[in-house]
């Protein structure tokens, strides 16, 4: 269930997503090492399954991808939020934070962003635009 959630949050959509990056495994490990967050995760997953049973008569992992997404949209998108689902919003926010952390600290996540960490240079990297470049000229015009 955790793996499915991470995959929905950061999908494979042409570039690899959270599933390929093994984010669920990372979350398992971090939560197992942190007694303070375990209760929140357990009750959050339960909350989601209860909602799923109530609306669709099935557990979350048994739903179609479309059903899963529509269950999560009110939790993840502010404008779709529903009254009474505050606990789910909080849980989904935590799940999203852990997914973002796991994904963007993985090798796949670094490639996704073309993260420039740990490259070596002989000179401090500088802005490649000419000083009269439209890129910077545009800046000056933005708020005259």
């Amino acid at each position: 269930m955790v793996e499915r959630l991470t995959e929905i949050i950061i999908p494979n959509d042409g570039t690899p997503g959270a599933k390929e990056a093994g984010v669920a495994e990372f979350i398992d490990f971090m939560v197992a090492s942190d007694p303070d967050v375990q209760y929140g995760f357990r009750t959050g997953l339960t909350w989601l399954n209860v909602q799923s049973e109530r609306r669709n008569g099935k557990r979350f992992v048994e739903l179609t991808p479309e059903q899963q997404t529509s269950l999560l949209e009110p939790l993840g998108f502010k404008e779709k939020a529903r009254l009474g689902e505050e606990e789910g919003v909080r849980f989904f926010r935590t799940m999203r934070e852990y997914t973002v952390t796991g994904f963007y600290t993985s090798e796949i996540g670094y490639k996704e962003l073309d993260n420039p960490a740990l490259r070596f240079y002989s000179e401090s990297p500088k802005c490649t635009h000419h000083k009269d470049d439209p890129e910077h000229a545009r800046v000056a015009q933005t708020r005259a």
């Binding site: 971090m30 303070d36 600290t105 070596f120 240079y121 401090s124």
Partner: protein, 558 residues
């Protein structure tokens, strides 16, 4: 066997102690240096040049350890270096975060490297605005020491002709990145300066040290010594003289005194055997960092010094100042959204700064006195922190993180607290550390003046970001809690009046002529500048004064 007597015992090997050790050893004095922690082995203890997925917790460290961590530098990359064994306490109402690196070299192993000189406007601040007292020396007097330190350690910057920031001797500056040019344009419109920071990171080879390779991992330690730290820059020079004996895991307990109440040596705890050991010297230099130095002095009680050695003024531990840190404003630059990623992080946050621009012409032009500086930061950092503030999930979320990755900016304030009678440290009357030494107890709150600076910075930084075409996304809710900056000053202030100050204008204690203080505890306040380069300059001056005193026969040579 006659007991060995060194010329000088130095407590601490950070910026202040390291400079004292090098200077004294090169002058031919026999030095025994005590360091509370061990010597780091860069190969084993520094986990630089590692990707997060090479680390067990992705660099975040074990959540259980993180819960008791002392700040942003205390992480999985550097955890070998930080001390979690020696506790401290806080008085009711005080919050205090106190990261202590007791490894050899102290915090210079990982420091922020910003290296601005104090100016006349700082040393004579009291004459200008009427608050507190002036420093007991002029800028002209300390300036040559700054020049020598800059030449020793290498500082990258430019000549800037700012009234609050005297210029020095500099290596070529860092190049500006896109975000610097954009923010510079914004600053110009608002009328605040945006300039290359003074950064002790080598932009070219310097004094036998290689140039920086811009990997961006400075705060996890440097494998080639391309920025100043005492283990790379000062201790090898001291060791080459053969005049240095460095004792590690030697936790200073108290200064020993002779029958006249003068310093005779230091008692320390060997952390491996837990035994107390005494080492003797003709002079003692205390350089254990601001609060630890005061703790050692206060713990040095004897029949001569019932309130702690060199404390007849009652001022040891008092007058504690610290830098208020915090993220005043964060947001992003739409101009950079969707651009290719760029190595913006190569010097952490010290490529550019907005040096103090307030109260320069008239000390009372603002609602607060003195002034603060701002460090802008942003661009492609190692981790997209902004992602947690975005809405939604799925492909749109993933795409938006990638688009926004080069664009975030934030402004970090560095603002000095004012000296006050209610900000100080003393010894906890009950709690002792595992070695039986009474621990420090902190009494500290941000004052009204510094909180006004904090509010002011939010306004100005938001103006700058908007004028640069950027979007403001949030203001800092509250500044970091005190201690976070690692810039505490003032527990052994220097001054001419022995009734009001702990040391004289040279860092020599008024009460005990062969006891010296060589760290930020002698500073009268913390100004808007960082402390390290000033600790180095003042320590160099104090050390040479000590050497002069040896030459004059005030402390006899071995």
């Amino acid at each position: 066997m006659a007991k060995q007597i060194y010329d000088v015992i130095v407590i601490g090997t950070g910026a202040g102690g390291g400079m004292a050790i090098k200077t004294l050893c090169e002058a031919g004095l026999k030095v025994c240096a005590l360091n509370a922690g061990r010597r780091l082995d860069p190969e084993k203890d520094f986990r630089y040049h590692r990707m997060p997925w090479d680390m067990k917790y992705r660099g975040l460290d074990d959540p259980k350890l993180r819960a008791e961590s002392f700040g942003y530098m205390d992480n999985e990359y550097t955890k070998a270096a930080w001390d979690h064994e020696i506790p401290f306490t806080v008085a009711p109402g005080t919050k205090w975060m106190w990261p202590r690196c007791n490894a050899v070299g102290g915090k210079t192993n990982f420091w922020g490297r910003s290296s601005a000189r104090f100016g006349e406007i700082d040393l004579r601040a009291a004459s200008l605005d009427g608050y507190d007292v002036d420093w007991p020396l002029t800028y002209e007097e300390i300036s040559p020491f700054y020049t020598r330190v800059e030449n020793m350690i290498g500082v990258a910057s430019t000549v800037q002709n700012r009234p609050s920031n005297p210029d020095g001797s500099y290596l070529p500056p860092f190049n500006f990145r896109c975000l610097d040019f954009i923010l510079e344009a914004g600053c110009k419109k608002v009328g605040v300066p945006y300039l290359p920071d003074r950064c002790a990171q080598l932009t070219e080879p310097h004094e036998g040290h290689p140039a920086c390779h811009y990997c961006g991992e400075c705060t996890t330690g440097c494998d080639v010594g391309a920025f100043f730290s005492t283990p790379y820059f000062l201790l090898p020079k001291a060791e080459a003289t053969k005049n240095l004996e460095l004792r590690t895991n030697a936790l200073a307990k108290n200064v020993l005194v002779d029958e006249n109440g003068h310093a005779a040596g230091v008692a320390y705890i060997d952390r491996k055997t837990k035994q107390e050991v005494e080492v003797y010297g003709r002079a003692v230099v205390v350089a254990a960092s601001c609060i630890e130095s005061a703790r050692v002095l206060l713990n040095s009680k004897s029949r001569h010094w019932p309130d702690g050695i060199a404390n007849s003024s009652g001022q040891v531990g008092r007058n504690l100042c610290d830098h208020l840190y915090g993220e005043s404003v964060h947001g992003y630059l739409p101009q950079l959204v969707g651009q290719a990623s760029f190595p913006d992080h190569v010097a952490d946050s010290t490529i550019a700064w907005m040096p103090r621009w307030q109260n320069l012409k008239d000390p009372h032009e603002e609602e607060f006195i003195r002034g603060y500086s701002v460090y802008p930061d942003g661009g492609c950092t190692e981790f997209p922190w902004f992602a947690n503030d975005l809405d939604g999930f799925g492909s749109s979320f993933k795409r938006e993180i990638k688009r926004r990755y080069p664009s975030p900016v934030s402004f970090g304030i560095q603002a000095p607290s004012l000296r006050s009678d209610t900000n100080y440290m003393d010894l906890d009357p009950e709690l002792k550390d595992p070695f039986g030494i009474p621990v420090a107890r902190m009494h500290f709150e941000w004052d009204e003046n510094v909180l006004k600076m904090w509010e002011h910075s939010k306004q100005v930084c938001a103006d700058v970001l908007r004028a640069a075409g950027g979007e403001v996304e949030g203001y800092g809710d509250a500044p970091e809690i005190p201690g976070w900056s690692l810039h505490e000053t003032g527990t052994c202030r220097m001054g001419n009046d022995p009734k009001k100050f702990v040391t004289n204008r040279f860092g020599q204690t008024h009460d005990v002529p062969n006891l010296y203080v060589c760290d930020a505890s002698v500073f009268l306040n913390c100004t808007d500048k960082t402390t390290t380069i000033s600790i180095l300059a003042f320590s160099l001056r104090t050390s040479e004064h000590l050497i002069e005193n040896f030459r004059h026969g005030e402390h006899k040579v071995s």
